[in-house]
């Protein structure tokens, strides 16, 4: 393969690929930049998304190939004949640019190729299974965390509004909790949860995902980040809005302060929450790597770590691609939702 070939062969291969890469980039890249301004938001986003996906596939592909080590390297070297056969079977003996284009052609058709480690399973298969687990846990965590965050923000704002000593204390306590949740690396929180509920109290199972009870600790751990973000954002927004004239007037009318808060102030305070939906999911991904490892959850994060360590090229690209698609769709949804809640933004 390429490591046995002389340096010149490798250099010319690289040159070929760079050329092709540049050409493709030239064809694709300028289109969204020079699009007429009338084109709808969705088309622009979809085009942007496609370019991003193309970049990600290319970037990951070349990063992985240039890294030292291959998928069939083991502690005990395989005999060269077997190695050559293995490489031939997966097309790893062809020139790099040929591999790249045949891979791209497969990806466009929705085929992420075979996994080099789980010989019998396709990447589509592994990713589909992993994604199901990861997204289920992630969605539950976002939902729970956000709802808890909003509820506590309302409570804190209500307590501040009451203005009593106890109220201020409650607000301070909640804020400390929010900052702590923001500062707590999820793997530390997860480790504490396992130590407390599984090892010492023995109430909940520590690892694996077999029954719904097994999901409690991972979801709780993952929900820390959405909780912290939504609590801090909504609390600050509520504090700012409480000084607005329309809220002061409602108070002057003598409306129930809780009603003013939950009905009128909250509606406006939720808007900043929209802007963090995408970064929030990204943060959840960060958490999920360590959390899936701690709780032995067979999700995408755990697969990714093993795939990177094993140089399972196709699986790494597949998982990266799936997360990118999710991120792009979320970014798009966020902007579209902005247009829905704030008509001023629709025209631009």
């Amino acid at each position: 393969m390429r490591r046995d070939a002389g340096p010149w062969v490798f250099v010319t291969q690289c040159l070929h690929t760079t050329q092709a890469f540049l050409l493709l980039g030239l064809v694709l890249a300028p289109s969204p930049v020079y699009l007429p301004p009338m084109t709808s938001l969705i088309t622009r986003h979809l085009l942007n998304g496609l370019i991003t996906l193309f970049l990600i596939v290319s970037l990951t592909f070349f990063l992985l190939r240039i890294m030292p080590g291959g998928p069939f390297d083991q502690e005990r070297q395989l005999p060269p004949a077997i190695m050559a056969n293995m490489n031939a079977r997966f097309g790893l003996d062809k020139p790099l640019h040929e591999q790249y284009f045949s891979y791209l052609a497969h990806v466009v058709r929705g085929d992420l190729g075979p996994s080099y480690k789980y010989m019998t399973r396709s990447v589509n298969d592994i990713v589909a299974q992993g994604a199901l687990v990861s997204f289920e846990l992630g969605a539950a965590a976002v939902l729970m965390g956000t709802l808890a965050g909003i509820a506590m923000a309302l409570l804190a704002a209500w307590a501040t509004g009451a203005g009593t000593r106890g109220g201020l204390l409650l607000d301070g306590l909640f804020s400390l909790l929010g900052v702590s949740a923001l500062s707590m690396p999820s793997f530390i929180f997860g480790a504490f949860m396992v130590l407390l509920f599984a090892t010492w109290l023995n109430w909940l199972p520590a690892a694996r995902l077999e029954t719904p009870a097994h999901a409690i600790l991972p979801v709780l751990t993952l929900s820390m980040v959405p909780f912290a973000y939504s609590f801090l954002l909504v609390r600050n927004a509520l504090n700012t809005i409480s000084h607005a004239t329309f809220i002061q007037i409602k108070h002057a009318y003598g409306l129930n302060p809780w009603r003013v808060l939950a009905k009128h102030a909250l509606k406006n305070a939720l808007i900043p929450l929209l802007s963090i939906m995408a970064p929030l999911t990204a943060a959840l991904v960060t958490g999920s790597f360590a959390v899936e490892l701690i709780f032995a959850v067979p999700g995408l994060g755990k697969h990714f770590i093993y795939a990177v360590s094993n140089r399972d090229y196709t699986l790494v690209i597949g998982i990266t691609l799936v997360y990118s698609v999710v991120l792009i769709l979320l970014n798009m949804a966020t902007e579209l939702l902005y247009g829905v809640v704030n008509p001023k933004l629709r025209s631009t």
Partner: protein
């Protein structure tokens, strides 16, 4: 603040004192915690190889007068390892933030200068590139990059910085766009001032508080990401060990010696809280209208 302006002296030190007085109490708590961490890092620098010294007679011991925080499964002193880990965490956090701040400031300023000029398309393309950066799954590409670059401290810093600068660039661009509306900029340009001088003498001093703020946001984020990477075994490579590595090591024997997980975890958590509180306090002080 009353409308009657402060009549006391307005020497630089007096202004600095007023600024310090405006900082909330949380800032000083955070500063105290960070001072402890910094002292540990300094101690770590002076310790030599104490963190690597193996004592076969004292394996997985709880805290004692000889080993203040106990020893790990190989008989290494936990306090020494924590101190060396502190150097790594602080180094990665600070240098990532500095690199990201440099790239972000340059990029944001350049984009803002191109805005509403003959080079409008450059600004648009630059912003489009940032959009693309935001739709990359950051952590995954950080992992790939840092492995690609060789898993050294420097490669981790570069990989982290590569994904931290867009936030700074966006903030800076917004601020420069606002600055460009100011009368003094118009005066400067109509007098024929060179753009470089404009940036260096007028924009940079006005951007300083924003640059400090973005640093205080980046440092804890970089430390968090690094510790997560080290915890899953893809962070700093073996001869070095950060707090994340130590927690991972301790995790293997959490039932027998929970203090191996608890102590580095508490350290990391306190540092993160302190950094976040400090950032928030600085944000309130430097940015009072927000």
């Amino acid at each position: 603040m009353s409308m009657t302006a402060p009549t006391t002296n307005s020497s630089p030190s007096a202004i600095a004192q007023q600024g310090l007085a405006r900082l909330p109490a949380s800032f000083w708590w955070a500063a105290a915690v960070l001072a402890v961490v910094l002292t540990m890092a300094l101690a770590g620098l002076l310790m030599g190889d104490a963190a690597a010294r193996i004592d076969p007679d004292a394996v997985t011991q709880p805290p004692s007068p000889l080993h203040w925080l106990g020893t790990d499964e190989m008989g290494r002193d936990l306090f020494a390892r924590l101190s060396v880990g502190a150097i790594i965490s602080l180094f990665i956090g600070l240098s990532t933030a500095l690199v990201a701040m440099g790239i972000g400031t340059a990029y944001g300023t350049l984009a803002a200068l191109c805005h509403n000029s003959r080079l409008e398309n450059v600004d648009m393309a630059m912003m489009r590139f940032i959009d693309i950066m935001y739709s990359l799954p950051g952590l995954m590409v950080v992992i790939l990059f840092s492995i690609f670059l060789g898993r050294s401290l420097l490669s981790i810093v570069l990989a982290l910085a590569f994904f931290s600068w867009p936030d700074t660039a966006r903030l800076i661009r917004g601020q420069v766009l606002a600055l460009k509306q100011e009368a003094f900029v118009e005066a400067f340009t109509s007098l024929g001032g060179h753009p470089f001088r404009l940036v260096w003498r007028h924009f940079i001093p006005n951007l300083l508080s924003l640059m400090i703020l973005s640093t205080t946001i980046t440092v804890p984020r970089a430390i968090l990401t690094e510790s997560t990477l080290s915890f899953v075994g893809l962070g700093v490579a073996p001869p070095l060990s950060s707090w994340g590595t130590m927690i991972n090591d301790g995790w293997q024997m959490i039932r027998m010696a929970p203090h191996l997980v608890l102590i580095p975890s508490i350290m990391l958590f306190l540092t993160m809280v302190a950094l976040n509180l400090m950032g928030e306090a600085l944000d309130h002080t430097l940015n009072p209208q927000a």
